[in-house]
Structure formats: C-alpha cells, structure tokens
C-alpha cells in the first residue's frame, strides 16, 4: 500500500515533468514556427505556466485580405455587388446571383422558401440592407466565372427536381428510391450536381424577436453613440463562420453618419481571423503617411484585414470596442489591455480610420462605384431569368456598370476578374 504522505506524488511528478517538457518544446517551437503557429504555441505554453494568456489564432485561411477571393467555401468573394439577378432554379424557386466587383459570383439560395434578399455585406449601399426581411436561412455558393455560376444553378435545379420527386434518402428503401432518381436524371441529361459543402447563412432573430433585442435597440437609437445590431451568421462545413453586424456611426468632423456592415471571420474554434467592413462612402483618401479618410457617398467600399499579428489584433480590438461589440472576441496575438473610452462617437472615428489605415498596408481595400445600371433591390423584384440566360444578362450588365477597383497601395487599379 502506498504510504498516505506519498499519495499523489506520482501526479505531482508528472505535472512537473509535463511543465518542463512543454516549456522546452514550446520554446523551441516558438523559435522555429511561422507566426500563426507560434501564436498557438505561445498560448499553449502560457496556459500551462499560468501566465496572462490570450486565445490563439487558428491558422488563418484565405479570407479578408485575399483580393479576388474566388475560392468557394468562404463567406463570399471579397467586394461589393456590381450587378444582381434572380434566376429560376425550378419548382417555383429562385436564387439570387450577384456579380461582385472583382468578377466573382455569389449565389444565394433560400432554404426556407422565403423571398430573396440582397446579400448584406455585398449590398451596393448599406442603406439597402434587407437581409432582415429576407430568407431566414440561405445556402451560399461562390463561383469564379459566369460558367461556374451557371453550373451551380444547374445543380440547384437538379437538386430541387430530385428532392421533390425522389426525396433525399434516409432509410434503405428511400435510399434506393433516391439513387434511382439520380440515375434517371442523369439519363435525362440533368447531370449537374450541386456543389457540396456550401456556407449556410442564418439571419439573426431580431426580426422575429425584437423585444429580446430591446437593449441592443436602445443602444442603437439616435446619434448619441454607435449602434450595432446583429444581421446573422454564415457557417461553413469546416466549422469556420462569419458573423455579420450592422453599425451606424456618427463620425463627426463634418462627416455624415456612416452605416456599414462589419464581418467577423472566425475559425472553427471561434478565434477571430479577419475583419471586414462594407460601407457606402464616396471615396477613401489615403494620405502619404497612410492615413485614410472617408467622405460622402457614391460607392461601396470593402476594407478587409486579416488578423494574424498582435498589431492587427489590436486594431481590430479597438475597432470592435469602439463600436460597442458585446460578444466575447478571442484573439491569437496578445492584445494589450489598453484602457479605451467606451463606445462613443468620439472613439469610433479614429478606430475606424486606424483600421482602414492598417488595411491599406496589410489588408485589402476595394471599391465599387455606383452607376445607373448598378445592382439594386430592383433586381429582387425584376424578371426571373432562366439559367441559360444568365451569361447574356451578365454581359449586358457589364456594359452599364463599372467594374470594381482595388487599392494597390498607391492608387486605385482596375480589379480584374478571377475567371
């Protein structure tokens, strides 16, 4: 029998050994690892040693600062909407197809049969945000070209027909019936499949439960300070997700109140990996020292910053704090416990400018000028196109709408598409 006084010694020895080993291994790893990984290791070590820790970043994926962002799976191509179309996907359903300023496409397919709504972060002007009035849940797809978009639409159409007549399986008999349907549709030439693993957007409950958001509504009222309200979130198969908020900010200094959408990109653990703002301002001026200013309206600007360094995290943290974001945000890089003034009109302007300035040097800044043929809510009430008419409609729209532009650090440049 183990003497009473020695009970637990084994555990203590193990903990001590683990502490030493983890510190040594962690130190080596920090020395050799790239930054994002080093951040993770720093966190792991500091949790063991009891230091003042901050949460780690997940390894950042391509998102906020990847200009064309044609890759599917993210919350959507970076850039505001240039033109938008309703396209039939069969069975009386329609999908919204948006060509973004960078040439990529976003397809929004409602999952609950509700009317379509313009995509919040891509609205030509944030004053047109109608996401709250739209579908509660939508499947999101991205495409790098009009052909890829047409393929997605074809797949959605086939999926609708299949599910309507052959179900989706779920039992041995249903599986056989579903498989038979696949074979039949393939035989009929409907071979386009819906891309798997789309993002799913879920609107916030604000529209259905305004009383439960009374506190948020109270904070949002008037010009006494910034107001921020939830729009919803888009979740991806890999567990990463994007949180959408809308903010109204009186900027002062003669500048009109600015309304914009804030996107918080989070990895599968919830750690912040990027921040994007979409706002309707006429121009962003960039001074020689990198300071950014925004004036007026007339174009939609999208500013993205991937949060992968302590400096990025601090800028993002200051911006969110100035907006009064209440949700807990976890950062990888250490964020100094700087005492800031609570959310107010006085603090949000400088924080927003600092965010834009950081994005100019380390992130991405794009703009989509307005033009007569620009995307508008009219696209949501206009004619419904057949999928094979999409390419021609996009071509026509491209003649009457300006393409997006990308700030390259010194000047605005045409933003070539990703096709």
């Amino acid at each position: 029998m183990t003497p009473r006084r020695e009970a637990g010694l084994g555990s203590l020895e193990y903990i001590g050994l683990a502490l030493v080993a983890s510190t040594v291994i962690g130190g080596i790893a920090i020395a050799v690892a790239p930054d994002p990984i080093a951040a993770t290791v720093r966190y792991a070590v500091c949790t063991i040693t009891g230091g003042d820790c901050v949460a780690p970043l997940g390894v950042p994926k391509a998102n906020a600062d990847e200009p064309p962002a044609c890759s599917p799976g993210m919350s959507g191509p970076l850039g505001a909407t240039r033109s938008a179309f309703q396209v039939s996907i069969g069975s009386g359903r329609t999908a919204l197809v948006e060509q973004t300023g960078g040439g990529a496409f976003r397809i929004v397919a409602p999952l609950d049969g509700a009317p379509l709504a313009s995509w919040p972060a891509a609205s030509a002007a944030t004053s047109r945000i109608d996401a709250l009035a739209g579908a509660r849940r939508s499947a999101l797809y991205t495409a790098g070209s009009v052909q890829e978009a047409s393929d997605v639409l074809g797949g959605l159409g086939r999926q609708g027909v299949h599910d309507r007549y052959f179900g989706t399986g779920g039992s041995p008999v249903a599986d056989v019936w579903s498989d038979a349907g696949d074979g039949l549709l393939d035989g009929l030439g409907m071979s386009q499949r819906t891309p798997s693993q789309p993002s799913t957007f879920t609107a916030a409950d604000l529209a259905d439960q305004p009383s439960s958001y009374a506190y948020d509504l109270a904070l949002s009222l008037g010009d006494a300070g910034p107001g921020i309200l939830p729009l919803g979130s888009a979740h991806r198969e890999d567990g990463s997700w994007t949180q959408y908020l809308t903010a109204s900010v009186p900027l002062g200094d003669g500048r009109a109140a600015e309304q914009f959408v804030v996107e918080l990109e989070r990895d599968h653990k919830g750690y912040l990996t990027g921040v994007r703002t979409t706002s309707a301002v006429e121009r962003l001026t960039v001074a020689p020292d990198g300071r950014v200013d925004a004036v007026g309206q007339g174009a939609t600007h999208v500013v993205g910053l991937r949060v992968s360094t302590a400096a990025d995290a601090q800028v993002a943290s200051d911006l969110l704090a100035s907006l009064g974001v209440q949700q807990p945000i976890a950062y990888a890089a250490p964020v100094a416990p700087r005492v800031t003034t609570p959310a107010s009109a006085a603090t949000v302007g400088p924080a927003l400018d600092a965010f834009r300035t950081a994005a100019v040097t380390a992130g991405t800044v794009t703009r989509q000028p307005y033009s007569p043929g620009h995307a508008s809510p009219a696209a949501l009430t206009g004619p419904v196109l057949e999928p094979d008419a999409l390419a021609a409609a996009v071509t026509d729209a491209s003649k009457s709408t300006a393409s997006g532009e990308l700030w390259n650090g010194t000047a605005w440049q045409p933003w070539s598409g990703c096709a």
Partner: protein
Amino acid sequence: MGAVVGLLVRIRRRRGRFGTLPGMATPLVELAPAVRYAALAGLLLLSGCATPTTPGTLPTPAPSEARLTPSDGTSLRDRTIQHPLFTMQVPAPYEEERGDLDRVTVARWSRPNPDGPLEVAVAVVVESSPTQPLADQAAALELRLREEHHEVERIGLAWPDAAQAQLISWREGVRGTGTFREVWQLMAQRADGTIYSVVAFGPFDTFDSSGLPEVLATFRIRP
C-alpha cells in the same frame, strides 16, 4: 434618428413554407406538430436533460425579496412621460431619443454626458404585434446572455395592467474600461399581446443609487 434603426423600418416578417431544401434531408413521413411536440417533451422527460443553463420559457422562481415592485414614483416628479401606450417618470434633465419602426417603437431617456459616451439610460421598446410571446422572447434573451457568459437572473413579476411580466437582469463588462454595467430589462405583456420592454442600464457600482430602479418602478402600461 440612427440609420441602423432606420433600416429596421423595412423589417417585414414573411412566413415561408419549409420546402425542399438543397442538401437537407426531407422526412418521408410528416408528423403532426402536436405529435412532434409530445414526442419531444417525452424525450426530454426521459433523458432528464433540463438543466439550469437551458432556460425554458418559464422564469426562475421569484426570489423571496422582490428586486422591483411598482411604485407611484413620488420621488421622481420631475417629468412624466405621457406616451399613448405607456407612462413613466424620468428625471427632468434626461435627454430623449425616439424612433418609430415597423411593429416596434423605441424611446430612450439618458443622463446628459456631452463629452462622454452613453452611461445611464432607460429605454422603452414597444412591440405592437409580436409574433412570439413574451415568455419565448424572454427565454431567448436569457439563453443568448448565458451563451455570452453573462450571469443572468430572470424572475416573474406582477405588474399593473400586464397579463404577465418578467425581469431579466445581468451584468456585463464595458470593454476596455475594466468597469461593469448593470442592465435590467422589465418585460410586460398587455392582454392584447403588446410587449413592453423597459431597459435600464448604468454603471454597476452606482446602479442602485442611480435612480434607475425607481424610474423602472414608475412604468405603467396604458390600459
């Protein structure tokens, strides 16, 4: 009025059928809602999965000492808000903001703080044709706050001219300041379904002496 609030003017609730969803399984047998709910209730009872962190629609039992009781507001005679839907007394210096939305009206009275942020305020949000009852919305609020790691208390109250009423209170950190804010939300539902949410918030340390509980206590529904 803030543009954010303005966008809510366009809120239109649209009922949509649950159609065939891309990528989602569609049940071959549709159960009647009552059967589904009964089955769900049975499963919950059998599994014993009701926990204190999963709020139901019923509030927690009322504490022995009520935190908020209606009063006539004799100490707050400075100013009486005469709204068509409610009355309330607030200190005279408080500044007023109002917004009329679709189905929702918002009014806020706040202690003036010209060079600083909003600190002490009380707001009334009236939802005229709610699509979800008070109990459900109060439970949703409590759940959301708990998910954000706030300590929440939700109690049932008796309130004049209200068919039912609840008080939800929580404390939250004011980011970057090291200070905390106390928030009380009194939710009351009139017999016709209208939901009133009276939200008072101020610094945690001085909340009790801020006069906000007294302001809340003067809130009355117009019958």
